[in-house]
Every structure is written in C-alpha cells, then in structure tokens.
C-alpha cells in the first residue's frame, strides 16, 4: 500500500468529518430561538434580564458566529461537546453516563444479528430442502420491512403478556435486555444476511470452487474452507453502515422499552430542542462511520492478499 494512498484516504476521511461538523453547526445556527431562550426566558423561573444576560455570557451564546464556530470546533476536537441546556450538564458527561447501557445493548444486538445472519446464510446455502431454502432466503426482505418499534411492541405482547416469560416491570438487568436486543438484532441482521448470501452465491461460481469440488470436497467443506472465507470481505464493508444503524436502532429500541441510554437521550433532546445533544450524537455517529470505513479500507488488503500488490488496479 503506497503511503500516498494512505494520506489521501486519511485526508478524505478528515474532510468528511469536518464537513459533517460544519453542517451540523450551520443547522444549529438556523434554529429559531435557542435552548437558553426556551429554558430560562420562559418567565416561570422569574429571572431578571440581567441574570439572563449573564447566563448567555456563560454559555457564550452572544459571541460572533465565526468565533462560536472556532470555539465549538476546538471543543469537539478535545471531546468537549458543549452544554446540554435541558439537563444542565456538559453533553460529554451526559453521553458518558448513558454510554454503558447503549454499548451493552448495541454490542449484544450486533452479536445476535451476526449469529442470525450467519445462520440464515449458511443453512440456506447448505440445505437440500427447497422449501427451507426459500423460507430462509425470504427472511431478510421481511426483516427490513418490519418497523423496529412495532417489532418491540409485538415481542412485549407475546413474551411478556401472552407467555409471561419476561416480567414487564421489575425484570432483572439481563432479563430486561433480552427483548430489546432481539428487537435491535432483527433489522440489523437483514442487510448482513443479504450481503453474505449474495457473496456466497457469487464466490460459488468461481473456478477455484469448482476445482475444490472436482477434487472431491464435500459441499460443507467447500462452504466453510473456501466460500465463506472469500465471502467475508464484502460483508466487512457493511461495518460502517451497521454502526450507524445500531445507533439509530437504539433510539427507537430504548424509547419503546424505556431504557435509559444514548438513544433515549437523543429522543428527549429532539422533544426539548436540546440541539447540542443531537449535534454531538450526529457528529459521533458520523465519526464512527468514517473511521470504521477507513479501518476497513486499510485492513482489507491484509485480509484479502489479492488486493495487496497494487492498490486501485483493475482486476
């Protein structure tokens, strides 16, 4: 990999990140009335105009726009995302407080989704039963068509109210995570399964698979030794998209199940016009997407030796 490619790719990633930040900043500036206005100047707090002016000064709300932009950018670079007016604490603090819950939810959701997608793809490729194959291959299109919030509600209905397997109130910490994780995993597994199935189908037509079959390898051996290894590459390119989808899924899932996490915080931020929180979440999700894609691009040649020789050469 040439260092020129590396620098170019890095620069592109940074450019996108900077543009995402700037776009969200401009969006904030366009907001009619700010959060300070909503929270402090409503009158019910009985603050004098002088006190309000002091608050505005403390939040730096009256500085020239360009100066605010520089300050905010410098803050973001140091991991300081401004103040959540509604909560009265720094956004960074609020995010850190809510991070563990969302991290567990999304990590488990991702793990279950991977398992689900892998099972669908592998079983539907190996099975000789036609009906099972078409049933399994019909699942991903169905999964992407199901509204996440509705799925959560239906699961609550079935498992909590009909079967009474999981108590609605007072479920244990892990018990309470079962349904949210399942809810989050289903829509995430759909694109994974689709890409994996397509990649498997494609790799199977390659000459080296025919060679392996001709040498007498069983279809299971060919799938796990040859096909699956080659099909993992395309699946890896989904990682960045999935990161964002997990975060977006957490917004809906946490709202449906009443879990406190970054997703619920985002939903409340929209309700309260707490734009700083939303900006932080948007920029963080964009950063996650860009950095993950960067990592995948740089790691891909390590996984697939065919790409190692010359970058960008046509095959």
């Amino acid at each position: 990999m040439s260092s020129r490619y590396l620098v170019g790719r890095l620069g592109q990633a940074l450019l996108v990140l900077w543009a995402a930040f700037t776009a969200s900043f401009v969006l904030l500036q366009l907001l009619p009335g700010d959060a300070i206005l909503i929270k402090f100047e409503g009158g019910d707090l009985g603050l004098s105009p002088q006190q309000i002016a002091e608050i505005r000064l403390a939040y730096g709300a009256d500085e020239p726009v360009l100066l605010q932009y520089v300050h905010t950018l410098a803050g973001f670079l140091q991991g300081h995302f401004g103040y959540s007016i509604q909560r009265g604490v720094p956004v960074t603090e609020a995010i850190l407080a809510n991070l563990p819950a969302t991290a567990w939810l999304t990590a488990l959701g991702f793990a279950v989704a991977t398992l689900l997608a892998g099972t669908i793809a592998v079983v539907s490729s190996l099975t000789g039963l036609r009906w099972l194959r078409s049933l399994l291959r019909g699942l991903p299109p169905l999964f992407v068509s199901v509204p996440v919030f509705w799925l959560g509600i239906v699961l609550i209905q079935i498992f909590s109210f009909r079967l009474k397997l999981i108590p609605v109130i007072g479920a244990g910490e892990w018990e309470g995570l079962v349904l949210p994780v399942l809810t989050l995993a289903v829509p995430i597994s759909a694109p994974l399964a689709q890409v994996l199935i397509r990649a498997i189908d494609e790799v199977r037509t390659q000459p080296f698979v025919t060679v392996a079959r001709a040498k007498g390898a069983s279809s299971r051996w060919v799938l796990f030794r040859h096909v699956l290894r080659n099909a993992l590459g395309p699946t890896l390119t989904l990682a960045g998209v999935l990161f964002g989808e997990l975060l977006a899924g957490a917004v809906v899932t946490e709202t449906v199940f009443g879990l406190n996490g970054i997703g619920r915080m985002t939903e409340q931020a929209v309700n309260n016009q707490d734009a700083a929180v939303l900006q932080a979440v948007v920029v963080i999700s964009a950063a996650g997407f860009v950095l993950i894609n960067l990592a995948v691009d740089l790691l891909y040649p390590l996984i697939d030796p065919r790409l190692r020789k010359t970058v960008g050469a046509t095959t």
Partner: protein, 292 residues
C-alpha cells in the same frame, strides 16, 4: 435503512452485473405470484388513500364510547380503540397520511438527489468532488438521526416529517444519478449524439435520462418502502401528524397504552406497514431486474 444493496451497487468495487443478470433470468421465468400480490397490495393501499369511504362504513374519528376496546368481530373487523372508533376505518383513512408523506419524501429525495447527481456527473472535477463529499456527509449519518436533525430544525408535523425523511434519501439518489450519468455519458450512442452536434442538455434529456429511468424508478420504489417505515417511525415518536389524525405509526403509538388488554390496536396497523413496505421492496426488485 434498506438501501444497502444500492450502496453496494453504486460502489465501483462490487461487480453488480452478475446480480442483475440473475434477476433478469428470474424475471424471464414468467409467472410471479409474489410480484402480482405486491402490486395488488400497493393498489389496495393506494385505493385506501384515494377513496377510503368505499372500504368502510365506519367513521375514523367519531366512535361510540359504548363500543370501546372491542375485539375484532364481524361488525368491527379489526376491533375498536379506547374511544370506540373502528380500527379498520382508522387504518383505511390513515393510509392517505402515511402514503402521501412517503410520496412527498421520495419526491424530495428524487428531485434534490437527482439534481445533485446530474450536476456532479456532468460537471468538471472540482464541482463533482465538492458535491460528492457533501453526499458522503449525508451518507455518514444514519437516516433516522439525519431526519431528527431536520425535525429539530423545522419542528413537528406531517409535512416536516416527510421532508425530513426525504432529505435522508437524497444521498442514495445523488449517487445513483451520478453513476448513471457517468455510465451513459461514456457510451457510444451518447458520444455519437454529441458528435452530431447535440447540445449538452438536449443530449441529457433525450438520451441519458430515458436510459437511466429504470434504475431511478427501482430506487424510487425502494425508497418509497423505506419512507413508509421512516414516516411511521417518526409518527410513532410523536414528530409527525398530531394525535386525532389516524397515521399508521401514530395508531401503533396510541395502541401501545392498551397493550395488555387490546392486542389488535398495535398488531394490525403494524401488519399494514409491513405489507406495504414488503410490496414496495418486491416491486423495486423487479424494476431493477428490468434495467439490466
């Protein structure tokens, strides 16, 4: 949420020809019950939106309090809600809110996205780069968060929610339009059209556009499905139509309060959403097959 296959298709690294060929051969195997059912579902749902009174005799807004929270029966096919309103009537009359929202969203994405893509694909390197970096930014943020950013800016409401969903689909349309323009532009007949003295926009209109139409329509159908999902999600969160309006997502949100006693209130509106989205996706797949 569902545009992953198209991202794959737009990415230069993935060979998508093979995929298109398999879907055409599938198309050639003539009979498709799934596709017919899909068109049927979309047709019925569209009819709900246009002539709702043909499908139900019940009023979607006025209910009789005596008949509240009744289970599905012959009189009330899908049961009644907490105010005694017929659920089927509310779903039928709600179709127009959900579907018109989705149509507006797709229109916003289609017009803005295609415009950006055509400009990028047919301009010089610098403008192309600038536009596509902007598209990269839109792609980097998940659709729901992008929609929420627009909602926080514009405020709640049916139209605002539709615009918010539309903005989230701009990037996909822009990438597709650019890829199509670049692809068709390099083909011999377009070069011939330029060579025989065709003006830029005339060639674009006469040759590039018709040849890209199928791919764009396929994406529009796909985005229509995901727009229904997104609109109902925003409705569920309370950012769309205000309460007495029977929007599908809002119906589910309202039914959620009676989840332990009235399962039908949440289950049936959701099934309609699933059916509509599934059908739109199926139709998109068949359109994509034809574009090969």
């Amino acid at each position: 949420m569902t545009d992953v296959p198209f991202e794959q298709q737009a990415a230069p690294a993935t060979p998508h020809r093979l995929d298109l060929r398999t879907s055409t051969s599938r198309l050639r195997r003539s009979f498709h019950p799934g596709l017919w059912i899909s068109w049927g579902v979309i047709g019925i749902v569209a009819a709900f939106a246009v002539v709702p009174w043909l499908f139900t005799g019940h009023d979607p807004v006025d209910g009789s309090p005596l008949e509240r929270r009744q289970a599905p029966s012959l009189v009330h096919w899908l049961g009644t809600d907490e105010l005694g309103r017929d659920l089927f009537a509310r779903i039928v009359y709600g179709a127009v809110n959900t579907l018109s929202g989705a149509v507006v969203a797709v229109a916003v994405g289609l017009v803005v996205g295609t415009l950006l893509g055509v400009v990028a694909g047919s301009s010089g390197r610098r403008i192309d780069d600038a536009v596509m970096r902007l598209v990269d930014v839109l792609l980097a943020v998940p659709a729901l968060l992008l929609s929420l950013s627009i909602i926080i800016l514009l405020g709640f409401g049916t139209v605002n929610a539709a615009i918010a969903v539309g903005v989230a689909s701009v990037a996909s349309f822009a990438r597709l339009a650019r890829a199509e323009v670049v692809r068709v532009r390099r083909s011999d007949y377009v070069e011939a059209a330029f060579g025989s003295g065709g003006r830029f926009f005339a060639v674009l209109w006469r040759h590039v556009l018709p040849n890209s139409l199928n791919a764009v329509l396929a994406l529009a159908a796909l985005q229509f499905g995901s727009a229904i999902l997104q609109i109902s999600t925003l409705g569920f969160l309370g950012y769309g139509a205000p309460p007495p309006t029977p929007e599908w997502g809002l119906l589910i949100a309202e039914g959620r309060n009676y989840i332990s006693t009235a399962w039908w209130l949440t289950t049936f509106p959701g099934l309609f959403v699933v059916a509509a989205v599934l059908s739109a996706n199926r139709i998109s797949l068949s359109l994509r097959g034809r574009s090969a």
